[in-house]
């Protein structure tokens, strides 16, 4: 067994080293495995002028926009799922507060396709989509090509190659071989598409754990620049097998975010006022953790022998 070089670092150092003002940034995770811990550290380090890309901006980008980190948003569905609007995002778009925010809009399939093209080092991706829709009129980057076999017109979207992608996952080894179960989202495509990749995990495990079940590996170490261990790092999103989604917080966000002052207060308490995820979780309280902690439901193994 080789023991490759360790990429383990702290969240503070990973963000300081790898996320710069003006970068394009993807923090993916579809409902599952959204790395709020990284977003909070970016807010604390007061990064500015970021282009934030994500299918569903969700609370995570609403918080970053409220904190003034973003100058542009690339997205496909902007809402608080099942609850309502993203109020900080709306204030930025409608009133330019705290800073103006440019929008670039696709459908989910369009953004998935952009990341797939980026991961495959193609300048664009093909899809059968957008005919009869106003989306191409609203976004001149949605174009088309003619099929060299049938003559049919097909839609295209350009590759997205973000400067940085941050992926949350259940576990990785020290060199960044990363395993995910439950919903995959577009974590793999987002990682392969990026120039720099930070993996944040619930647990760092020995290489032997990864090698014991290689089919669960979604992101290989060769695309990973830094590995951060941050338990509960996805809250209020979730990590299958570790903790449940904090649906109550998503509902609470409606009240916290509707008013600029109360959002500021929340950022002051839960982001600026703590020095990392451990402090955040302490503030959240043991009762909440107990409510959200996953019950055990362990799968059976399969035979890798030959």
């Amino acid at each position: 067994m080789t023991s490759a070089a360790s990429k383990v670092t702290t969240m503070r150092e990973a963000i300081a080293d790898l996320v710069h003002d003006g970068d394009s940034l993807v923090i993916e995770g579809f409902t599952h495995l959204i790395c709020f811990a990284a977003a909070h550290e970016i807010i604390r380090q007061r990064r500015r002028d970021l282009t934030l890309c994500r299918l569903t901006p969700d609370l995570i980008y609403d918080q970053m926009i409220a904190a003034g980190c973003a100058s542009k948003l690339v997205f496909s569905w902007a809402g608080n799922p099942g609850v309502g609007s993203l109020h900080a995002l709306r204030r930025a778009v409608e009133k330019g507060q705290p800073a103006p925010l440019a929008l670039e809009e696709y459908s989910h399939f369009g953004l998935v396709a952009r990341l797939s093209a980026g991961a495959a080092r193609l300048p664009f991706w093909l899809l059968r989509d957008y005919d009869g829709s106003d989306l191409p009129a609203a976004n001149p980057l949605i174009r088309s090509v003619d099929c060299p076999y049938t003559g049919t017109k097909l839609a295209t979207v350009p590759a997205l190659n973000p400067d940085v992608t941050i992926v949350h996952a259940q576990r990785a080894d020290a060199s960044g071989n990363t395993q995910i179960w439950g919903l995959y989202g577009v974590q793999k495509e987002a990682a392969f598409a990026a120039k720099r990749v930070i993996v944040v995990v619930e647990e760092i495990v020995g290489e032997g754990v990864i090698r014991g079940d290689p089919n669960r590996t979604v992101i290989p170490s060769i695309v990973v620049d830094a590995v951060v261990c941050e338990p509960w790092g996805a809250h209020p999103s979730y990590a299958q097998g570790y903790y449940d989604r904090d649906n109550r917080f998503y509902v609470e966000w409606e009240d916290i975010s509707r008013d600029e002052a109360s959002l500021e207060r929340w950022l002051k308490d839960f982001v600026y006022g703590v020095d990392g995820r451990a402090g955040y979780m302490q503030l959240l309280g043991a009762q909440r953790q107990d409510r959200l902690r996953a019950k055990p439901l362990i799968s059976s193994g399969v035979n890798y022998g030959f």
């Binding site: 579809f30 299918l55 799922p81 099942g82 778009v93 005919d131 009869g132 989306l135 439950g182």
Partner: protein, 249 residues
């Protein structure tokens, strides 16, 4: 609406499910006449059998005990674009007389009066699902003659008909409202009233659209929800009444 939407599903069909009322309708259908419905969520859960009412489209309860998990690239490319989805649900926002849906902006795109969430997967569901069921309460605000922005193509519109555009799916074939059901006319794809719930006044229903709503030649009166359907909705599937009021069903 949930009962009616559930009845639109046939046993064994592959359904692309969103959260909220469509999810409730699918689970009601599974509990009654369509036990073999295959529920596929945009988030990648395939064959989910959630043991609690999922609050989000990516709820962990959709994964635990499901038949499979697909990457979102596979969901959109192989399942949806691949032509494997038989029924897609769409809803809310604005729907026009040809079933075009707006979930992007009220007002102009550059200077909207209201910024809505955007397409999500709605554009591609409208294009690829073999048939689309729209669920929305009937009102002139929700059903204007023309939508401000076409997020998801309907039967016909400024870009041409589905046939002219070579869209693979049949588009919105049923619009389930709180008054009855609209469906596109075979001739031009314009939505018309084809069925009403018992006790609903045809004239009142027709006055609730933003255009002169035509009525199909033989307007059907739909059978009421059975007591079993109501019991399942109220006591089993939505015990917290997240999606249905005490009286609504």
């Amino acid at each position: 609406m949930a009962v009616r939407a559930a009845r639109e599903l046939r046993d064994g069909e592959v359904v692309f499910v969103g959260i909220g009322l469509p999810n409730l309708a699918c689970n009601l259908a599974r509990a009654t006449h369509a036990p073999n419905l295959v529920l596929i969520y945009e988030s990648g859960a395939v064959g989910a059998v959630p043991d609690r009412l999922p609050v989000s489209i990516g709820d962990p309860a959709l994964v635990t005990g499901s038949l499979g998990v697909a990457t979102m690239a596979d969901v959109f490319q192989f399942y949806l674009q691949g032509g494997r989805i038989e029924v897609g649900f769409l809803g809310r926002a604005q729907i026009d007389r040809y079933g075009n849906i707006n979930s992007t902006v009220i007002g102009s795109y550059e200077h909207p009066k209201v910024r809505l969430p955007g397409s999500g997967g709605a554009c591609e569901i409208a294009i690829h699902a073999k048939r689309v069921i729209i669920v929305a309460p009937l009102s002139p605000r929700t059903f204007p003659e023309n939508v401000d922005f076409i997020t998801s193509p309907g039967q016909n519109g400024k870009y041409g008909s589905r046939e002219q555009l070579h869209l693979p799916g049949a588009g919105p074939v049923r619009v389930v409202t709180d008054m009855g059901i609209l469906a596109p006319a075979r001739s031009d794809g314009e939505l018309e009233l084809v069925a009403i719930y018992p006790g609903v006044d045809e004239k009142e229903a027709r006055s609730r659209a933003g255009w002169p709503l035509r009525c199909a030649p033989n307007l059907e009166v739909l059978p009421p929800p059975t007591s079993e359907e109501l019991r399942l909705l109220r006591d089993v599937l939505d015990t917290d009444h997240l999606y249905i009021g005490k009286r609504e069903a």
